[in-house]
Symmetry: D2
Subunit: 164 residues, 4 copies
């Protein structure tokens, strides 16, 4: 597969939460995506761009408009988006209704990467694989699975994504 570059848009979410030693609170600092790709010895041509750094519960319509516009304008036809899980389905729907002809996979993590027990590296690995192999469309890639945006919801009680 020679696919050209993959675009990786960072929007925040649990993935990138860190721990503030002085306040004892979780916060966003810089993205850990470069470090994660290095850890995975990833040899794909991935272009990272940080669009925002927010908790997905606080993501606004403006934020979603920015994400959609970047998906439309990106020269790459394969895009991975890291995103908080709480409103991932909603953002996927925004993109799915507007962006055509590109394979776009949203992924995230239930536990911050910086915690020892994060699922982030697993999800990133699978999202980058899905984005190379799936037909154009907008998907959510979590828990080893991949769902088209029109057929997925988050089960908030269990913290997992399910097929509709």
């Amino acid at each position: 597969m020679t696919l050209g570059a993959i675009r990786l848009f960072v929007t925040g979410g649990t993935f990138d939460k860190g721990y503030n030693e002085l306040t004892g609170e979780l916060f966003f600092q810089d993205t850990h995506l470069q470090e994660m790709l290095r850890l995975g010895r990833c040899l794909l041509d991935v272009e990272i761009r940080e669009l925002m750094m927010v908790d997905s519960l606080e993501m606004t319509e403006d934020d979603r408009r920015i994400i959609v516009e970047h998906c439309e304008r990106a020269p790459e036809s394969r895009i991975v988006i890291t995103h908080g899980t709480d409103t991932m389905v909603e953002t996927a729907a925004h993109i799915g209704r507007r962006v055509q002809g590109k394979t776009i996979v949203l992924t995230g993590a239930m536990v911050p990467y910086k915690f020892g027990s994060s699922d982030g590296l697993f999800n990133l690995g699978s999202a980058l694989a899905f984005v190379q192999t799936l037909a154009p469309g907008v998907y959510i890639g979590m828990n080893g699975r991949c769902f088209p945006w029109v057929r997925v919801r988050k089960n908030q009680a269990k913290g997992v994504f399910e097929a509709l």
Copy 2:
């Protein structure tokens, strides 16, 4: 995608090496694959079977015959195999020449999972994604990339897999 179960054959390799405190040597104990799937919050229906636990440099023709037979006999049509990287290409070729009609992805790690800085979780995530989405055939999934078995070699000097 409703795909039915994925078979995961464990053969050893760096993935599963542990550290023996008493001798200071690396060794194989039990596989960490269950733990890794749990860490990745993997919700796929994965059936793990440990076929052997060897360093791939010490894998014999008998070992490869056993792997091929298990691939042929497995009821699942989607199979991931964890394998040492040194002779992963050779085992892929053995399978590729004999097994038809199944999607089989070999994967591994450059650093043992039990070390903090392992690429194993990333590779496992991508292998499980590739095996769900690729057409029947035998592939090597490493470093975020996926190669058909006839078009890949390991660059021993760099420790990475490259297209032929």
Copy 3:
């Protein structure tokens, strides 16, 4: 040194904070002290007792009374207390004014143990060493250093303990 058992009182604090995957918040579940002693291959005779599991900013006078009483009544003359750092000095003062003839070391962590980058294991190792070697009195053991309770304050801006 044959010292008999060391008592370890757990009161919560950053040491034992975990991450709730469903809410994205930090919380207290069970103590990680047993796991940490196992990780440190600790061979001391340590008796762990969980007194409470609170953020030290929310520790009440009742909580401090309970801690003091347990220090007084414990048959052991050497006691380590894990405690949130924010009010560690205050609790040390409560104990210091009331408990005589015992060596008591309060310790904590700036980063939860479950995060990859915690200082907890280092602090626990040093607290257990200080408690074996120091004369009776109440001390704070943090950052590799040990301070008598009457001569220490927390520098909140820097997140470290300093001599008065």
Copy 4:
């Protein structure tokens, strides 16, 4: 306690073993002691000096002579030495017979620091505490305990240190 600087001599041992991705073997590269002190948020004035980087089973009489000389010549009266566990007792005896008037604590690890499950940080924390509080003499600080060099042996079968 205002003690002036503590000298930290690095000699190698399990503490500092890394994993060579290309060969799959354990090896010595650079010491991780600075990183460990940073992780422990250590605020002691510690001067690190790497004397050698060897497996303690391969330590020669010349190596031990070098260690003894550095202990004698160091301006600091408090010295921690990181050392492989297999011959730690032997090196402690060499130092104990020759160096007077200094508190010297040898410590090590059963599992390399770079592995997730290392006891190294715990042992380093306790060694730095013991060296500040014990009377002049040569000690082995492992497993939370501290032994004068004349009263300790390594139980090779269990991988722990015991009082003679």
